[in-house]
């Protein structure tokens, strides 16, 4: 029997997810423009795998398939996986990662709304730990045409040593480390000088900064549509920039600038699309600030001192873990119980 309220706002999970997907489009467009259409193949692969995995798990769990496949949440996960992975990883890696995200990280925890971890980021971490070499091969902008990308995705042998390298983030960190070694040719060079190579572009890696700008635009549109609030992206960017800026100010020869940190790697994607995932993120306003700020600081720490190239994924998972604690301790006072 239905009780009041008898009227409802025409809102649905599907609509929310659809708008998130739309917001990703500018970033994807920039991605394709600079790095080639290989990413579209990856997106298609991941989406297909996500739908298949979700459908299989829903069937096993006896849930209505049409309803849950239609909510598009699996597609969002799939897109995020494709966008955070290098665009030339072999197809089986994308598919395995997506299946792990959907089957293990999402459905085994109870499906939509129940997963404590962001599925896409969990998949990223699983994969970078399992296949660090494959997950560290990023082509520079315009380096590979579509057919060689396809060959890398679907082909067997990967003799790509000459044409792929690490991300600007990783390369810079390596260079910075080398610069501290008195034996190295780079000894004594400052970050700004180290970044003078063709791969670095203006801010955060050639092409990479434009992709980041695309995601930023999409994120701002989500803000305007009130799908997300400013708290998480704002606190994340601020914390990342502040922690990067602090060490940069103290030792500019040892650390990259805050602008570089914001514009490279998964910072923008993380700020607007990953950390804002409501299921695995904090929900209270103060909690959101704390959650995102923690993720920002951790991202910087992992980027600067960790063993893996980017820190957004690990930072997200670590903060996901803290969410129950954060939420529990940041409940706002309710009506009439406020202290003025």
């Amino acid at each position: 029997m239905i009780n009041s309220p008898f009227v409802r706002k025409p809102a649905s999970v599907q609509q929310v997810m659809l708008q998130v997907l739309l917001a990703l489009v500018p970033g994807i467009a920039a991605y394709v423009w600079f790095f080639g259409a290989g990413i579209l193949v990856q997106i298609a692969l991941a989406s297909a795998a996500a739908l298949a995995g979700e459908a299989a798990m829903l069937a096993i769990r006896g849930k209505p398939k049409a309803l849950f496949l239609g909510d598009l949440s699996a597609i969002v996960t799939a897109w995020l996986i494709a966008l955070t992975f290098p665009p030339i990883v072999p197809w089986w890696l994308t598919v395995t990662a997506t299946l792990l995200a959907i089957v293990v990280v999402k459905q085994l925890y109870g499906g939509l709304g129940q997963n404590p971890f962001n599925p896409a980021m969990a998949a990223f971490c699983l994969m970078i730990v399992a296949y660090p070499a494959l997950m560290s091969q990023w082509p520079a902008a315009g380096q590979l045409d579509f057919s060689s990308q396809l060959q890398l995705i679907f082909g067997g042998a990967r003799q790509v040593d000459a044409i792929t390298g690490a991300t600007p983030l990783d390369a810079l960190r390596t260079a910075l480390r080398a610069a501290t070694n008195p034996d190295s040719q780079l000894h004594g060079l400052r970050a700004s000088q180290l970044m003078d190579g063709p791969a670095y572009g203006m801010l955060g890696g050639k092409g990479g900064e434009w992709v980041a700008l695309g995601f930023l635009l999409g994120g701002l549109w989500l803000l305007q549509r009130r799908i997300i609030t400013w708290h998480i992206p704002g606190a994340f960017c601020l914390a990342l920039a502040a922690s990067a800026g602090l060490l940069w100010a103290i030792r500019p020869e040892g650390f990259a600038s805050p602008v570089f940190h914001l514009a490279s790697g998964g910072a923008m994607l993380g700020a607007f699309f990953i950390l804002t995932d409501p299921v695995s993120g904090a929900t209270t306003l103060r909690g959101k600030l704390l959650f995102a700020a923690g993720a920002g600081v951790l991202t910087f720490v992992i980027r600067a001192f960790g063993a893996y190239p980017d820190g957004v994924a690990f930072a997200t998972l670590l903060m996901n873990l803290c969410v129950p604690l954060i939420d529990m301790n940041t409940q706002a006072p309710v009506f009439g119980h406020k202290k003025d």
């Binding site: 660090p132 070499a133 560290s136 003799q159 790509v160 792929t164 690490a166 080398a178 063993a307 893996y308």
Partner: protein
């Protein structure tokens, strides 16, 4: 139950505790005595296993582990706290040096190596003793973790000689040398390569001094 005074109970528990402790400590002591010699033998055997990988066991006939020179801090070998050089001899003639060396610039810190160098300066073999490189990325410097079991990466050093090979070639290909490395993971091999090159040069420069020193002498 009559002696449930505090003093009585304490005496009783203390006595029991003492008896049990004596008995079980004795058991442990006995086992220790019984296994003592075997443990020392096994430990030596383990150490020799790695050495055998870089220098064949039949190449020398001296007691290798007892014939060593103690080095102080040595920049050339990356040894900040010193290390040992073992000397292999056959019928008293020098057949090889086993140098402990450290590559300080690995992706995640020090990489400890053992390098076998023949008297003519040729590198006979290199093994990684310990490292903390990223699993799956840089850890193929250790042949146990190398996917390519037939010709592990570290085998490339066998047979190189600083006397015949120009120093420029003792580098990974990315730096313009001739040593191969895996895509996306060049830091660890670069560190090892550089360390081996330094060790080879050091050995060539100090060969006579190292072979000539008395056993156990500190240099």
């Amino acid at each position: 139950m009559s002696q449930s005074t505090i003093l009585g109970l304490s005496t009783r528990t203390a006595g029991a505790m003492m008896a049990f402790t004596a008995a079980f400590t004795a058991l442990m002591a006995f086992t220790y005595e019984a296994t003592h010699a075997q443990i020392a033998a096994s430990a030596n055997e383990e150490k020799m296993k790695l050495i055998t990988e870089v220098l064949a066991a039949n190449a020398y006939d001296n007691s290798l582990l007892d014939d060593y020179v103690q080095l102080g801090p040595t920049r050339e070998l990356g040894l900040d706290h010193g290390g040992r050089v073992y000397r292999a001899r056959k019928a008293g003639a020098p057949v090889g040096l086993l140098l402990e060396a450290t590559a300080p610039d690995g992706y995640s810190g020090d990489i400890d190596l053992i390098v076998a160098i023949l008297p003519d300066g040729t590198v006979n073999g290199v093994r990684v003793v310990s490292h903390r490189e990223t699993p799956g990325l840089g850890d193929y410097i250790d042949p146990k973790k190398d996917k390519d079991k037939k010709s592990p990466w570290i085998g490339q050093f066998s047979g190189l000689n600083p006397a015949t090979l120009p120093l420029d070639a003792w580098k990974v290909k990315k730096d313009g040398g001739q040593i191969n490395s895996h895509a996306g993971a060049t830091i660890s091999p670069r560190a090892v390569t550089n360390a081996v090159a330094r060790a080879a040069r050091y050995a060539a420069a100090n060969r006579d001094r190292l072979f000539g020193a008395a056993t156990g002498a500190s240099l």
